[in-house]
């Protein structure tokens, strides 16, 4: 789920940046530091949409670095248990398949794939129903439900299922190609 929230961060700025463009540099550094990161509480920071406030800087003794408290608004993305997501399959193997929804990686175990879908190995490994009408392979788009999440320092990993009503392939690259 996406959220637009206000976050705070203490930015440390090297003294070499002090000058007329200090604010720009601070913001550029903020974007560089923050965008793409992940925290357990807020999920992935997708983009910074604005800076609300830059507080007074405090010079650190010894290093000359200056710490600015920065308040900024950002779009964050955090997956939740039970959330339905649409994701792109990135890899298929006999244990299941991996899919990605933006920065989030989701694994769908073969236990959580409907029983009528069987793994077919080969050049393009895939899961196919016995009649061959539905196929999950790399680049397929699937709708899945997240049943578990694990938050690391740098990424969020989810386990999903497509063994439920209305879940499964929503577009098949094989069919169009």
């Amino acid at each position: 789920m996406f959220f637009h929230i206000t976050l705070e961060r203490n930015m440390q700025l090297h003294p070499r940046h002090f000058g007329p463009h200090l604010r720009d540099k601070l913001v550029a550094k903020l974007m560089k530091d923050v965008e793409g990161t992940c925290s357990g509480r807020h999920g992935f920071v997708v983009a910074i949409t604005g800076v609300e406030d830059i507080g007074k800087g405090l010079i650190r003794e010894g290093t000359g670095f200056v710490t600015f408290p920065v308040k900024y608004q950002a779009v964050v993305f955090r997956p939740f248990k039970g959330e339905i997501l649409e994701a792109v399959v990135t890899m298929v193997n006999k244990m299941g398949f991996f899919a990605e929804a933006g920065p989030v990686q989701i694994f769908v175990s073969n236990h959580l794939i409907p029983d009528d879908m069987e793994f077919q190995s080969g050049d393009m490994p895939n899961y196919t129903t016995s009649d061959g009408s539905v196929k999950i392979q790399k680049d397929s788009e699937v709708r899945l439900k997240i049943i578990g999440t694990r938050v690391d320092a740098t990424e969020i990993f989810c386990i999903g299922t497509i063994k439920d009503d209305f879940l499964g392939v929503i577009n098949d690259p094989g069919a169009t190609a």
């Binding site: 002090f18 991996f98 990993f157």
Partner: protein
């Protein structure tokens, strides 16, 4: 072998029958024994006689004897129990003997023959005591006994045996003593008293002696057990039938039968006594057996009605071996079958057996405190089976749970064994016991009491028992560290091979070796690892961008083409990339740096694009690319990374030296010539021409045999292992770009020229420090090393007034430099070593030193100016009155003063410093602007102030600080656009 085994089994059975006979005997009276075997019995019964001579009835019921009450209770039961004790021992003995050789039975017979004497001996010491006491209460006792047996024993027992009464039963000092006799002494009972040590049993322990530990483990069907002896030792077996009376169990095993041997034996061929070979467990196959001409009989078991295949006395069914063994030869405690074993037991297509985690096994090994408050549990037995709930309270074996279902009492009490932990798919759990202990993962599926979890590290499925896991948010990989090495560390295996640890096993590591083309994984022991490689280094990617750790790169060639991820380690030009989509090798890929390109990361042109896009998207934060360049230009961990990569960072130096023929000029290999194979930090590996070997030599110890022919820069890089210079490279890039672009023609050429003519004033500070350096001084000059840091800190501080104190900042710097600048336009003194480090350029390019970085004034000046430079056409560069360096046809250059600029861009130049020589016309490509030095009069050649004259009052890196003649304004301008004015 099998035959031998069978025979023994038969023997066992025989023994059993005898044994059974004995047991029957025991229950009857003494007159029933037969010869030898009866020996034991007789002894015992006689003994009992002694104790309770008058009490025949009691004799009949050994079990109830504790029940006596009254004053004599204490003694009597003890005595009697004493006899029981002996009997017990005897029984045990007989059992053990069964397991052993038949000879033992003989021994018993022999012993039995001698018994009467022994008994006679034994009786003596007891009798007096017994007689005394016993005879006193004979009548009372008789009465009591009668009383007792008139009632139902069992009920009485239950009612009477209160704690207090039980206490009263305990032995006291007054009671007869128990003696401990070594079992060996029992062998020939006649010697029982002459044997050395007879110890008294402490009163406290007397009860323990008599308490019969119920060894009767509740072996029930379908329990998993392990074999204790024989070729099946350690094998998992499943109990199919239990004969409690005969203490035998029938178990189901995966047979270890060597059909070939069996066939040989059946055909009467010679069987070598090769006991060493234990056939691997394998299911028995009828057809195979028939092929080997082994007779397979099919028989029906008379009890169960099931059919078995009989081969050489072995019973098979469905490929399993059914074997009847003594309870003693199996262990039933703490059996933790692994899934592998269980999987094997589950024959294909046999799902009925599917409850792999047979409950009995599951519960056998529960630790204490298995359940904790808050655990989700499910009832697995009884009426409320499948009821879910949460643990509220745990009392010993009883667990109180709060049921999930409404309409039930608030809490229900269950026996621990009726409950099982319950997990839902998606739960994050940690395995706390069993083979997979320590692993964490997410539950993917729940199959009864078995969970399928997806391991966090390996992304593989694991099957574990629900009982073995706890919910946990912790993420571990099991063991991640052995010794000083941790998972994902870069380690050196031997001098040439290195790799990343991708898996830690017990005492061994899996290492992905640093080889291109194909992933190579080796299993190494702890001691085989030489050391951890912690040095951070850089490498250059395909487009010569510097790759540092954590940069995201994409592999563009080789087997891993298309993979992308952050660089985790760099070593010797190899990158270890972690691609999270890559499942093998813990996601690690090894690739040559040259086969990769940096994606957007910290360097290169992509960077600028990234900034631009962010700028356009985020318009409010207007920032010029160049400004952003500086923070971005440094990789996240810029300074340390750059420094560490000093040697390597100069990829050019590295490359240029490799393959060169050099001469070693000092050290133990002085005088040798050889080819450079590799440059490793400060060391150079050289293949000696004269000897077939490769030696490592310090860089400083080598000299180029090619000497002068070697390009200048290369020599410098090769020679001067000068860390401070290299780091400057990174930030240097942005500056160079604008300089180079316009300078394509005149300036570029100009840069080269002075190389040969050192007498020239430096073109730009940055350049001159390189070019004027005498190669010899680079390597050795200590001043250089010293000078740099010192200068660095004295580098101009912003706002300290460049303009107001011209040269003030520099005044405190070493004099040679001042003088050299002061003496302009006289030839610059290149040989003064101290002068080199003084140049602001080297100081200002050190990214890591605070203050050393050019401060805003310098930067701003450049930023403002550079676009203009790029945009200007080069035809207008030269202007009248500026000093130039003109190269004449012969290749020698002369100073001259531009007199006029012609339409085609060529200039009329009057040779001589003061323009008083002959006047010639030169094309712009043959001209080079003379760079001004401090205090020189200058003319601005480009930008809005083109044509204006002024005085250069200071130089900051590539920027000059200029005081304009007309307005007395102080401007900061790029040195590139400043030309020295003729002082005519």
């Amino acid at each position: 072998m099998a035959r031998g085994r069978r025979r023994r089994d038969d023997d066992f059975i025989d023994d059993d029958e005898e044994d059974e006979g004995l047991m029957d005997d025991e229950e009857e009276d003494e007159e029933e024994y037969d010869g030898g075997k009866g020996g034991r019995k007789r002894r015992r019964s006689e003994f009992i006689d002694d104790v309770a001579v008058e009490d025949d009835e009691e004799e009949e019921d050994d079990d109830d004897d504790e029940e006596d009450d009254g004053g004599r209770r204490g003694k009597k039961p003890k005595r009697r129990s004493g006899s029981e004790f002996f009997e017990l021992e005897a029984v045990v003995d007989s059992d053990e003997e069964e397991e052993e050789e038949e000879g033992e039975d003989d021994f018993i017979n022999d012993a039995g023959a001698d018994l009467p004497d022994d008994d006679g001996n034994r009786r003596l010491p007891h009798r007096p005591i017994l007689m005394q006491e016993d005879q006193e209460d004979v009548e009372e006792m008789e009465r009591r006994v009668k009383e007792r047996y008139s009632k139902s024993n069992q009920i009485d027992y239950a009612e009477d045996a209160t704690d207090v009464e039980q206490q009263a039963l305990l032995p006291s000092v007054k009671d007869p003593k128990l003696w401990m006799v070594k079992c060996a002494a029992c062998k020939g009972l006649r010697n029982i008293f002459s044997s050395a040590k007879v110890m008294i049993v402490p009163i406290k322990e007397m009860t323990d002696v008599l308490s019969v530990e119920s060894k009767a483990v509740d072996l029930s069907r379908d329990t998993w057990v392990r074999m204790k002896i024989g070729i099946y030792k350690g094998d998992l077996a499943k109990v199919v039938d239990v004969d409690n009376v005969r203490q035998r169990v029938t178990v189901k095993l995966i047979p270890r039968v060597d059909l070939q041997t069996l066939a040989n034996k059946l055909e009467g061929r010679d069987i070598g006594k090769k006991k060493t070979f234990v056939p691997p467990p394998r299911f028995f196959n009828n057809d195979e057996a028939r092929e080997m001409h082994i007779r397979v009989d099919r028989r029906r078991d008379k009890d169960t009605g099931e059919y078995f295949e009989m081969v050489d006395g072995l019973m098979f069914k469905d490929g399993f071996l059914y074997k009847t063994v003594s309870v003693k030869s199996i262990s039933s405690q703490n059996i933790q079958p692994t899934f592998d074993e269980l999987e094997k037991f589950r024959k294909p297509g046999e799902d009925a057996d599917g409850d792999v985690a047979s409950l009995s096994t599951l519960f056998a090994n529960r630790k204490k405190g298995h359940f904790m408050k808050g655990d989700a549990v499910i009832v697995v037995r009884g009426d409320l089976k499948n009821l879910m709930g949460w643990v509220e309270k745990v009392e010993e074996d009883t667990v109180h749970i709060r049921p999930k279902m409404t309409g039930l009492p608030k809490t229900l009490a269950f026996n621990e064994k009726e409950l099982c932990k319950y997990f839902k798919p998606g739960d994050h759990v940690k395995v706390v016991s069993g083979v997979q202990e320590g692993v964490t993962g997410m539950v993917v599926k729940v199959e009864g009491h078995v969970l399928i979890i997806l391991s966090d590290t390996t992304k593989e499925h694991l099957r574990v028992f629900a009982d073995h896991v706890v919910e946990s948010s912790e993420i571990t990989t099991g063991v991640t560290r052995v010794g000083e090495y941790e998972l994902h560390d870069l380690v050196l295996l031997d001098n040439m091979t290195f790799g990343v640890i991708i898996r830690v096993e017990s005492e061994a590591f899996q290492v992905l070796k640093g080889v291109p083309d194909r992933p190579e994984v080796v299993l190494v022991k702890l001691r085989e690892i030489k050391c951890k490689i912690e040095r951070r280094s850089n490498a250059k990617d395909r487009s010569n961008n510097i790759v540092s750790i954590k940069d995201v790169v994409r592999v563009v060639e080789g087997p891993c083409r298309g993979k992308q991820g952050p660089v985790e380690h760099i070593h010797r030009g190899f990158l270890f990339i972690h691609d999270r989509h890559h499942l093998e090798h813990a996601g690690y890929i090894c690739a040559k740096a040259q086969s990769c390109v940096v994606v957007g990361g910290s360097q290169g042109n992509n960077d600028r694009k990234g900034v631009d896009s962010s700028k356009s998207r985020f318009g409010t934060f207007r920032s010029s690319p160049n400004i952003l360049q500086s923070p971005r230009g440094l990789p996240p961990r810029g300074p340390p990374a750059d420094f560490g990569g000093g040697y390597r960072g100069g990829g050019r130096g590295h490359d240029s030296l490799v393959g060169k023929t050099i001469k070693i000029k000092s050290g133990p290999f002085k005088g040798y010539r050889g080819r450079v194979k590799e440059v490793k930090g400060p060391l150079v590996r050289i293949e000696l021409d004269s000897q077939m070997k490769i030696v490592s030599v310090n860089r400083k110890d080598i000299a180029d045999t090619t000497g002068v022919a070697t390009p200048f820069r290369d020599t410098r890089n090769g020679m001067g292992s000068d860390p401070p210079m290299h780091p400057s490279r990174t930030p240097l890039h942005p500056y160079q770009t604008p300089m180079r672009d316009p300078g394509a023609t005149p300036i570029h050429d100009g840069m080269r020229t002075p190389m040969h003519d050192r007498a020239w004033a430096p073109m730009s500070p940055a350049r001159d420090s390189w070019e004027d350096a005498n190669p010899a001084t680079w390597g050795t000059s200590p001043q250089y090393q010293l000078g740099t840091p010192g200068r660095t800190y004295e580098a101009p501080t912003p706002g300290s007034g460049w303009a107001s104190t011209p040269g003030g900042n520099y005044s405190d710097s070493a004099t040679p430099r001042e003088s050299s600048y002061g003496s302009a336009p006289s030839p610059y003194l290149p040989s003064t070593p101290t002068a080199q480090p003084m140049t602001p350029s080297s100081a200002s390019y050190l990214p890591g030193t605070p203050g050393g970085q050019p401060m805003t004034p310098g930067n701003v000046g450049l930023d403002v100016m550079s676009p203009t430079i790029g945009g200007e056409s080069e035809g207008n560069w030269y202007m009248p009155d500026i000093l130039v360096n003109a190269i004449r046809a012969g290749g020698d250059s002369h100073i001259g003063v531009v007199k006029d600029v012609l339409m085609d861009g060529s200039c009329k130049v009057a040779l001589g410093t003061f323009g008083n020589g002959e006047t010639l016309t030169f094309p712009p490509s043959d001209l080079e602007v003379v760079r001004p030095k401090k205090s020189d009069k200058i003319k601005i050649m480009n930008g809005t102030l083109r044509g204006v004259t002024g005085k250069l009052i200071g130089i900051d890196g590539s920027d000059g600080i200029v005081k304009l003649d007309d307005t007395y304004e102080v401007k900061i301008l790029d040195m590139e656009i400043l030309a020295k004015l003729s002082t005519k």
